[in-house]
């Protein structure tokens, strides 16, 4: 790494005036400069990331109501309640987890396959390609609030264009897209696919462009047809990207919030109320912050297990490859999506 190269040099430019004469070649004598550069970030990081992770754990061990003066320590009660059938939080939490699971299972396959097909088409060179790319990707830059408000209108059971055009095609035109299941699930998944497929397509495209063209030429000379080329060249070449896309898609789907908060409002009943939705309601509407914090830690454990599973799944298959690409930010990246 570059660090060994920079080390000796770094002292000669040290502008640290308090640290005394820096000794040559001793990297630990760089003085205060690195910390001055890091300070603004670290203040934010400690106050709003590291601190809260610990603080959240503390909150989860208390009966913590924002509006009440006493926040008694209750040990693991908030957690045991989540795993005790019949308790209030058990029911709402697992119903919400179920909703999250349903949404994830329905949306992930579509969000893996549809964008791949689009990326494969867009990877061909043809005039106007960039325009099409831009169009398919555009909805993603819209926020969930705009997307949801728009689709709530389009899907309106009475005056919405979706039902109207379905009727023109001779299909049922009285589906309650926002208030009945399973229609609400199809609506939520469909909207999410429309909204976010461009995001995955762009990542796929970048991956496709990194597959050496000679491999295709060689395959073609060996008489491989389109499908064989896809199976033996494209898919293996795309594996690292596929694992990354799978991971962020699962995590983004498991973090779904805005669509169900705005389009279905959890209806019918609380059937489409997702885990994040429930955590926000429990903690920030009903101020049962201890319970909500416990829920968020349980959800986090689930998500971590899930991503380790995905990671392991893809890792094993490419065991011979030494260095898996450093994958950036599954959680952080798509947080705006829910």
């Amino acid at each position: 790494m570059a660090t060994t190269v920079t080390a000796p040099r770094s002292d000669t430019v040290s502008d640290d005036r308090r640290g005394g004469a820096p000794r040559r070649g001793d990297p630990h004598r760089a003085g205060a400069a690195p910390w001055l550069f890091l300070a603004p970030y670290l203040v934010l990081f400690v106050a709003f990331v590291l601190g809260p992770i610990v603080y959240g754990l503390y909150i989860s061990l208390h009966r913590y109501d924002f509006t009440l003066p006493n926040k008694p320590f209750v040990g693991l009660e908030n957690y045991t309640d989540l795993f005790t059938p019949g308790s209030v939080t058990f029911d709402v939490f697992w119903r919400a987890m179920r909703a999250t699971a349903i949404f994830t299972v329905m949306s992930v396959p579509l969000l893996l396959v549809v964008p791949l097909v689009i990326a494969l088409v867009m990877n061909k060179k043809f005039p106007g390609r960039n325009v099409f790319r831009a169009l398919y990707f555009a909805p993603y830059v819209l926020g969930v609030a705009v997307v949801a408000i728009l689709w709530r209108y389009l899907l309106d059971a009475n005056i919405g264009p979706v039902n109207y055009y379905l009727g023109l095609l001779g299909l049922p035109d009285d589906t309650n897209w926002t208030t009945s299941t399973p229609a609400a699930w199809f609506a939520l998944v469909g909207v999410t696919v429309w909204w976010t497929l461009g995001f995955n397509a762009v990542i796929y495209l970048a991956g496709l462009q990194d597959i050496p063209k000679e491999l295709y030429e060689a395959a073609e000379m060996d008489g491989a047809n389109r499908w064989q080329q896809f199976r033996n060249v494209t898919l293996p070449g795309l594996k690292p990207v596929l694992s990354f896309v799978t991971m962020i898609t699962i995590i983004a789907s498991a973090n779904m919030f805005g669509q169900s908060y705005l389009i279905t409002r959890g209806a019918p009943g609380t059937e489409t109320r997702t885990a994040i939705y429930q955590i926000a309601e429990t903690g920030l509407r009903n101020y049962q912050m201890g319970s909500a914090a416990a829920m968020s830690y349980v959800l986090t454990v689930f998500l971590i297990i899930l991503s380790l599973g995905v990671f392991w799944l893809f890792r094993e298959k490419q065991a011979r490859k030494k260095e898996p690409p450093l994958q950036a930010a599954p959680m952080a990246l798509r947080q705006g999506r829910g």
Binding site: A2, L135, V144, A145, V241, I279, L299
Partner: protein, 301 residues
Amino acid sequence: MSTSVEPRPGAAAPARQNRKPPPEPTKLKVRRVLRYVVLTLLALAFISPLIFMLVTSFKTRADAASLPPTWIPNPFSTDAYATVTGAGTNTPVLRWFANSMIAAALHALLVVSTAALAAYALARMEFRGKKIVFGMVVATLFVPPVILVIPNYLIVGELFWLDTLIAIIVPTAASAFGVFFLRQFFIGLPLELEEAARLDGANRWQIFWKVVLPLSRPALVTLAMLSFLTNYNDFLWPVYVLFSPDVQTLPAGLSTLQTANAVRYDLLMAGAVVASVPVLALYVGAQRFIIEGVSRSGLKG
């Protein structure tokens, strides 16, 4: 980056000549036309919801609520915009718009400046604890944001930031992704330029400010765009930490607009159009950076 993996010129050229004979021109033409037809139809289906949003925002209240849906407003009306942006209503869309723009711009500035400083230290300086700091930052990439919601709400409350724009500018600004992304970029910069500046007597700050930052403009712009977009579009956090009509952001405000005017679709679409304009404009203007940021974040650093 994609260009760097172009096959060696010597290898590719002869292979291309060895291809099977090209199909006769007419067949090729038909296929090409067919491709455009399919792509265009798909693209139309894909963006028609957005077109319909725009169309509906220019309809009258009655026209917006009647069937069959029309694609040309008749009569053409800007009433919806006048209503949602009008003074004295409880839906000050222009105020929300300003709040969103200010918050997202300041947020992006804060993210880029703090992340750039930290990333430079992590990329180019040696110090005790560097590995621990970097390790912790990278580890939080994998922490789902949901576990921060409850504690950060309380912290923001204790700082008396609830119901102020600071609450949506600052707490989400510690971007682990930003630090990681910029560090990778800084490491890739040629060391020689920094050395030259050093020989000219520049100190660390001068090197950072006058050499590293100007060279990193594409990465900085990319990070700024992504941070702006994320903040502008954020929904969960603003909905719960901002309550007064005057301090809401557009996405949070839109949801109150929806509750207050459940069936006034002309108003809702006008609000949605106002909210979409800045991000779509940003997208058209800076598409390269946004797409690059997205695709790069998924690949090796």
